[in-house]
Symmetry: C2
Subunit: 333 residues, 2 copies
């Protein structure tokens, strides 16, 4: 329990605490000779700066919050990797929050982030309630939306066009000859699920089909397990010619359950996922999917956030929208 403070360092180096602080934060402002002396004292004493004291006095922390919907989903893991890579050299800490698509958990996480006075928050909101995000901003905490379009102009957001993605996915299935299509979705509170569906319906309309014909199966969560359950439902009610899943995890679950029931993919049923996670290409029947620039999403969002924090006056808010890319594999051959 060493508890070496800046004062001890100052005493050891024969300078004042203020100078030590300068060495730490504005090394340019202090003469090389003194700086060296201070640095020596720091390492001799094993001093490590008390982040909370620093945050308290300086008024801002070196911490950002990252709130995702499902940390078990490789999509978000890859986003997190992008965030990490940008942030780690800067000595920033990332506080991770997993909302599990529950507004209450998300609330609790945001509250924790607010208490920690994080510099900013990267969030993939799990619902459309923008109020709590606005409340964060009132506390001086910047917010950048990840995989979600902006709520308002004075805000950064990095997203991927989910309507376009849903349309492309279903257009692909239709082009392959499927006429009856099921859409396996997660909770309808999740925007991505809704928009991909909108796109899917648009594709049907464009093909001259009634969008009402899109059979929607709702899964409780966007996991493989939930996908298996959804597939059971499909099997019980009679199979469509093609299934479009809101997510690769759902699709992998659907695939597993279908194969187990003796349904052949893609011969009996074609199958499309979304996100193109690494495992999509490796699955039993390799999975067609919609690829998104996931890692980039994390990187760019973080860069925007940091710019907003560091240059509040010159910062230009940006709404970036990527286009997803169809990757056709065995499951829709």
């Amino acid at each position: 329990m060493a508890m070496v403070s800046i004062k001890d360092v100052a005493a050891r180096a024969g300078v004042s605490p203020g100078t030590v602080s300068n060495v730490l934060n504005r090394p340019g402002k202090v003469a090389p000779a003194t700086r060296e002396r201070v640095e020596a004292a720091i390492s001799e004493l094993g001093f490590v700066r008390h982040g909370s004291a620093s945050t308290l006095r300086a008024g801002h922390s070196r911490t950002i919050g990252l709130s995702v919907i499902d940390i078990g989903n490789p999509f978000f893991t890859e986003v997190a990797a992008g965030v990490e890579d940008v942030v780690s050299e800067l000595g920033y800490a990332v506080i991770l929050g997993n909302s599990a698509a529950s507004p209450e958990k998300e609330d609790r996480n945001l509250r924790v982030l607010a208490e920690h006075r994080v510099r900013g928050v990267l969030i993939t909101p799990s619902g459309e309630d923008t109020a709590r995000l606005d409340r964060l901003r009132e506390h001086g905490i910047s917010v950048v939306l990840v995989d979600h379009p902006a709520h308002r102009p004075d805000q950064c957001a990095v997203a991927v066009d989910d309507v376009a993605g849903g349309r492309a996915a279903v257009a692909h299935l239709l082009a392959r000859g499927a006429r009856s299509i099921a859409y396996v979705t997660g909770p309808l509170t999740i925007r991505q699920c809704v928009e991909r569906r909108t796109g899917a319906e648009a594709a049907m309309r464009e093909a001259g089909l009634d969008p009402e014909g899109l059979r929607v199966v709702r899964a409780a969560t966007m996991t493989a397990k939930a996908g298996e359950k959804a597939a059971a439902e499909l099997v019980a009610q009679g199979l469509p010619e093609a299934v479009f899943c809101a997510n690769d995890l759902l699709a992998l679950g659907v695939l597993r359950a279908l194969l187990r029931s003796g349904v052949r993919v893609p011969d009996d049923v074609a199958l499309m996922g979304y996100d193109d996670i690494d495992f999509a290409a490796a699955s039993t029947v390799s999975l067609s999917s919609m690829r998104q620039p996931t890692y980039q999403l994390g990187r760019i969002a973080t860069e925007l956030l940091l710019d907003e924090c560091d240059n509040p006056d010159t910062h230009a808010h940006q709404h970036i929208m990527f286009q997803p890319e169809l990757v056709a594999r065995e499951s829709t051959q």
Copy 2:
């Protein structure tokens, strides 16, 4: 930029700041009437406690650190889920660090955690250098090892028997009739890789084979991509009858590359992974693997850590060692 402080709340409620603090931290100590008044003021003013100030004065934070080797590996994601579930109701924050098996990155992350004066650290160390962990403890930060046996008696650790796992895996391959076996491993700085190999060699010895016969292929990282590369090497140098991978990610990469080269699994080569991540069961040829109580690892480690922090005197350090379980699937049929 509201910046409501405890003083404002106190003024509004007509009490002193000390009383507000009591309402926040020891609600029992304050009369119901005043408490209500204070709570009303809190919500009217939208007060949120300044965590750094609290940490600074109280001497301890409501934050723990989680340092993993690869956040992209579902194994660690599941550990993280276990951690999250324990911690989230307590209002604790989790600072995530990804060491990417690099001691430098791990160092940097630990430094950040030390600066933040986290309550404790959960870590899967990426090497055997215990010095920096001891340094953390000197700063009064508890450390619990995850998926790693204890370095010292006065320390908690939750691990899985990797030697036993390696032995069981290779014994399984031998029982299936394989005589030439390759071991695809990650960096040898990673203990898990080394111990699984030790187990593998033990299994060979027990079967009357020369453990030197175990062909070791080293991959730079424990990812699917690195697995593909390793498989290419195997193919080029002549295939063994069975391949044991230190990790499911490696195994999935090996599998993908083998199939692409026209090698049949398990007919030409049997394949075993390790970790039994969700995707192992879903892959092209479902993957035999060693299952570990991953989620439990995270949960229990966190509980131990919190107990150590909250009851430093009554706390009994524990070294928990789980046994892995073999899951046989198609890849070793």
